[in-house]
């Protein structure tokens, strides 16, 4: 079933057809909608959580920035649900693929930057030069700031990919260690299993935190530029 360590990260195919599109679209099926005022528990909780996150995240933005609310909410829900679903056994997590994360990060970051350059040119350009720098350092500092600006989408994408991939790999490795130690000495296997439990708890947290961090950073870039 899994020949080497990395088969769980390969693009899933079903009888030769890539079903990656369906896997990416799948989490949307898990969130019910209804046009009632009072619904069942899961819908109430969903409403409550989305309201909470929305208020927390969009409070700092101006009305122009708040036009991005739908985008950012969809982003955080997508990343959180794909990360959490990836923790189940034998599942494929789209966010482990750099392609998907770059596809999320670059357009959002570019949108924010272009928005800033179009509507507030002076403010956007002034971000390249922090206040109170000595005159001699200005050229170097501008180059450094430009590089740091262009690194932002790369950092976003690679951060998410690396975190999730590393978590999955670690779980896989420790699981393999437990399996190998099971026939040698059961108590060591038990200790390793406890380590696995702790790691799983961490993974749950990381899944949610990464989603939050990604969306927060995008919203920060947006705040800078609106």
């Amino acid at each position: 079933m899994n020949e080497n360590l990395f088969t769980s990260f390969s693009t899933p195919t079903l009888m030769g057809l890539p079903i990656i599109i369906m896997i990416i679209a799948f989490p949307a099926l898990l969130y019910p909608t209804s046009n009632r005022l009072i619904s069942n528990r899961i819908r109430t909780l969903q409403q409550y959580l989305i309201n909470l996150i929305l208020k927390q995240m969009m409070a700092i933005h101006s009305p122009k920035g708040r036009t991005w609310s739908l985008m950012l909410m969809s982003l955080i829900i997508f990343i959180a649900s794909t990360n959490l679903l990836g923790l189940l056994p034998h599942t494929f997590t789209p966010t482990t693929q750099l392609s998907i994360n770059l596809g999320l990060a670059i357009p959002l970051w570019a949108g924010a930057v272009i928005l800033g350059f179009r509507y507030k040119f002076k403010t956007s350009v002034s971000h390249f030069l922090p206040q109170g720098t000595p005159i001699l350092l200005i050229p170097m500092l501008i180059i450094i700031e430009t590089i740091s600006l262009f690194i932002q989408p790369m950092a976003l994408a690679v951060r998410l990919t690396a975190n999730i991939t590393a978590g999955h790999l670690l779980m896989h490795l420790i699981g393999a260690a437990t399996l190998a130690l099971f026939s040698i000495s059961t108590s060591t296997a038990l200790i390793t299993f406890i380590i696995l439990l702790l790691l799983t708890m961490l993974e749950f947290a990381v899944a949610l935190i990464q989603a939050y961090v990604f969306t927060l950073l995008v919203s920060l870039y947006l705040h800078d530029n609106t």
Binding site: N2, L45, H172, A177, F193, L196
Partner: protein
């Protein structure tokens, strides 16, 4: 589109109908009926209160009921155990590293759900109840304010019925004060008239007294003037003689 074909065919059959064919599709469209469904979704049908019953959180109760007539109570459990052992022994499900991580993940999930499930469900119920309570509160506040308005209106109407008491009291008050003023003025008139009459009386009294005094003094003066010197001496001697007699009488008394 087919209607146009039909109409053009009809037009070729009967040239008199050609004008009708030109208007045909439009007439058909105007005859079409829209909005045949219900105009609103209310009242929304109620949601079921509890979900379907499941065992092990996955397998619906209906499956057990389905197998019960043929295999009894332990049937589905035997089926489940057999399936799992079959998959394991035939290596359809391979024991890999993933198995341990899946045990860890699913174990953690089950533990979390069992531990925090009821409290989260209570929280969700409370959210719904709060929403309903807020709306109910708004409704009750509206009803209450209208009821208060109605009560105030009724009270005002009742008060209007009793207004005549107030008017009677006011009328009595005014009559009394009028009476008091009248009597006061009457008394003043009386006093003024009495004053004037007293003045006249005292003027008369003074005049009469003056006349009397004047007459007395005139009579005294004329009497005193009429007493001559001779008469005065004789009167004085007689008085002295009387006094000496009286003195002798008086001296005689205490001795006894």
């Amino acid at each position: 589109m087919l209607s146009r074909v039909v109409l053009s065919a009809a037009a070729t059959e009967a040239p008199a109908l050609k004008n009708a064919a030109l208007l045909g599709p439009g007439a058909l469209q105007t005859a079409r009926i829209f909005h045949t469904g219900q105009p609103s979704l209310a009242p929304v049908p109620p949601l079921p209160e509890y979900g379907g019953k499941v065992r092990f959180g996955l397998i619906p109760e209906e499956f057990f009921q389905f197998l019960y007539p043929k295999t009894g109570v332990t049937g589905p459990y035997m089926l489940g155990t057999g399936l799992i052992l079959y998959f394991l022994s035939k290596e359809i499900y391979v024991v890999t590293a993933e198995m341990f991580s899946s045990i860890a993940t699913i174990g953690l999930l089950i533990y979390g759900i069992k531990k925090y499930g009821p409290s989260v469900a209570e929280f969700a119920d409370k959210l719904n109840e709060d929403k309903l309570a807020k709306l109910e509160e708004a409704k009750q506040a509206s009803i209450k304010s209208i009821q208060d308005a109605i009560d105030m209106e009724k009270a005002q109407q009742a008060l209007v019925q009793k207004r005549h008491y107030l008017f009677d009291v006011q009328r009595n008050n005014i009559a009394m004060s009028l009476e008091v003023t009248y009597r006061e003025r009457l008394h003043r008139v009386y006093r003024e008239v009495k004053n004037r009459l007293d003045y006249h009386i005292s003027v008369q009294n003074v005049a009469r007294r003056k006349e009397q005094e004047h007459m007395i003094s005139w009579v005294e003066k004329s009497v005193v003037q009429s007493i001559s010197a001779q008469q005065e001496r004789e009167t004085i001697a007689k008085c002295i003689q009387d006094l000496q007699l009286l003195a002798k009488k008086a001296q005689a008394q205490p001795v006894m």
